[in-house]
Point group: C2
Chain length 229, copies 2
DNA sequence: TCCTAGCGGAGCGATTTGCTCCGGTCAACC
DNA sequence: GGTTGACCGGAGCAAATCGCTCCGCTAGGA
C-alpha cells in the first residue's frame, strides 16, 4: 500500500504520517455526513470544515472533488461486499441475509446515492459492484432455498430496499441540527422500522403484486451523465 | 376567495384568469418535483423553468420563495388529512390504514421533507398537521382494536414510516434524468417494496425491538431554525 | 539552530442565487 | 381598427457561493 523509501511505518516523519492518516479518515466520514444532508451539492468547504481540517489538506490528498467522491463510493462498495460475505459465513440463511441488510443500511453508506450520475464510474467501482452483487445473489438464493425468504423476491428488490432503508431522513436532519441528544432515540426508531420490513420479507405471506423489477433500473442510473446540464 | 368587482367567474378577463390558474398548478407541481431532486437548495429559476413559466409569474403569485414552500407544505398536509379521512370512511380497518399509507407515500408529497427547518411554520401548517395526526391516530387505534395491526406500533412509528417510504430515490433520479420510459417499471418496483412493508405491519409476528419512539423526534425537526447558519 | 513536510485558511475568478423590472402579447371594449 | 390594461416571459442585478490555488505558519527531527 505504501511506497517504501527510507523507513516507512515508524520512520522519520512518522508523527506527520499518523496525523495525515487521521485527517484522511475524518475527511471521508465528514464527506459521507455532508453528502447525506446536502446531497450532490455538498461543497468541499463544508466537508473540510466538518472534518476539522483545512481545504488545503483535502486537496493534497484528492486532486479534485470528484476523486474524493469516487473514493467514497469505492469504500461503500467494499463495505457492502464485506457485509454480504459475513452474512454468507453465518450458518443460518435468514440470519445471514438480515446481517447483510442491517450492515448495508445502518452504516450510512446508502446516503451517497444522490451523487449517482454526477461522477464518473471508475473501473474499480464497477468491479466491486459486480462482486458485491454476486454475493448478495448467493445470500438470496440460499435464503429462498431454505424457504425462509419470499420466493418471488429478486436481487433488484433487495438492492432497492437497501437504498430505500439506507437513507434516514430523520437521522440526517437531526445530525444537521446538531441534536446529538436525540440520536439514540432516532436509532431506536429506525431499528423498529427495519424490523417491520424484515418481517415483511419472510416467507409465508401472499405473493407480491406486479412483476419482478428489471436490473436496468439500477444500472441506468450510474451509466448516464446528468441530463446535458 | 376572489375580490369581486365587475363580473368574476366568466367575467371580462376570464381567459387570463384561467391561464393564471393553470400556471399556479404547474408551479406547485414543478416545485414538488424540483425539491424532490435538489432538496432544500432548489432554485426558483429551476422551478419556474420546469413549470414552463417565467420567474416573473412565480413572483407575482408568491412574494417570496419561502411563501411558495409554505403553500406547498400546507397542500401536502391537506392531502395527508384527506387520505386519512378516506381511510376512516372505509369499512375494513386494515384496508383503511393501507389506503392512507398508499396515498401518503405514493403521491410524492413526502419528498418535501428536506425543506423542514428551512422555512417558518405557519399557523395553518401547525393546525393542519394537528388534525392530520389525530385522524391517523384514529386509523391506528381502529386497526389495533380489530387485531390486524401489530399492537406495539405508535403514531410516530407510522409517521416515520410514511416519511421513509414517501421519498423514492429511484423515481426522483430517473425523473431528473428524463428517463420517463422507466417510470412505469420504477413504480412497479416501489409498489413491491411497499407491499413488503405493509405485510410487515400485520399483527401475528414477534414484538418489535426497542421502545416506542417519542413524538419529540418529529416535532423538534420543524420547530428549530437551521443551526445558526 | 535550521530544515522541511504538512498544515489551515484567505482569496481568486467563475458560477449561481433570490429577486426586480420592463418590453411584448392578446382578449375585451369602444 | 384603435386603445386599453392585465398578464406574461426572461434579461439583468447585487450578493452569495462555488471549486480550487497559493502561501505563511507550525512543529517535530537532525
Amino acid at each position: 500500500m505504501t511506497t517504501e523509501r527510507s523507513k516507512p511505518g515508524t520512520g522519520p516523519r512518522a508523527a506527520r504520517r499518523a496525523e495525515a492518516e487521521r485527517n484522511d479518515k475524518a475527511l471521508l466520514e465528514a464527506a459521507r455526513e455532508v453528502i447525506a444532508t446536502d446531497g450532490a451539492h455538498a461543497s468541499v468547504a463544508a466537508i473540510a470544515a466538518r472534518a476539522g481540517v483545512g481545504v488545503g489538506s483535502l486537496y493534497r490528498r484528492y486532486r479534485t472533488k470528484e476523486e474524493l467522491f469516487q473514493k467514497l463510493c469505492e469504500l461503500a462498495l467494499d463495505a457492502y461486499l464485506a457485509a454480504a460475505e459475513e452474512g454468507l459465513a453465518m450458518a443460518d440463511p435468514w440470519d445471514g441475509l438480515v446481517h447483510y441488510l442491517r450492515a448495508a443500511t445502518e452504516h450510512g453508506t446508502g446516503s451517497l446515492a444522490p451523487i449517482a450520475g454526477t461522477i464518473d464510474v471508475t473501473p474499480a467501482m464497477a468491479d466491486k459492484n459486480e462482486r458485491g452483487e454476486q454475493a448478495v445473489r448467493r445470500l438470496i438464493d440460499r435464503a429462498q432455498a431454505a424457504g425462509v425468504l419470499r420466493p418471488e423476491i429478486t436481487v433488484v428488490d433487495i438492492d432497492l430496499l437497501t437504498e430505500q432503508l439506507g437513507k434516514s431522513p430523520l437521522l440526517e436532519h437531526l445530525a444537521a441540527q446538531g441534536r446529538t441528544d436525540l440520536t439514540e432515540a432516532a436509532l431506536n426508531a429506525r431499528s423498529r422500522l427495519h424490523a417491520i420490513v424484515f418481517d415483511g420479507l419472510r416467507a409465508g405471506t401472499a405473493p407480491l403484486p406486479g412483476y419482478p423489477p428489471s436490473s436496468e433500473l439500477f444500472t441506468e442510473r450510474w451509466s448516464r451523465r446528468p441530463p446535458t446540464g
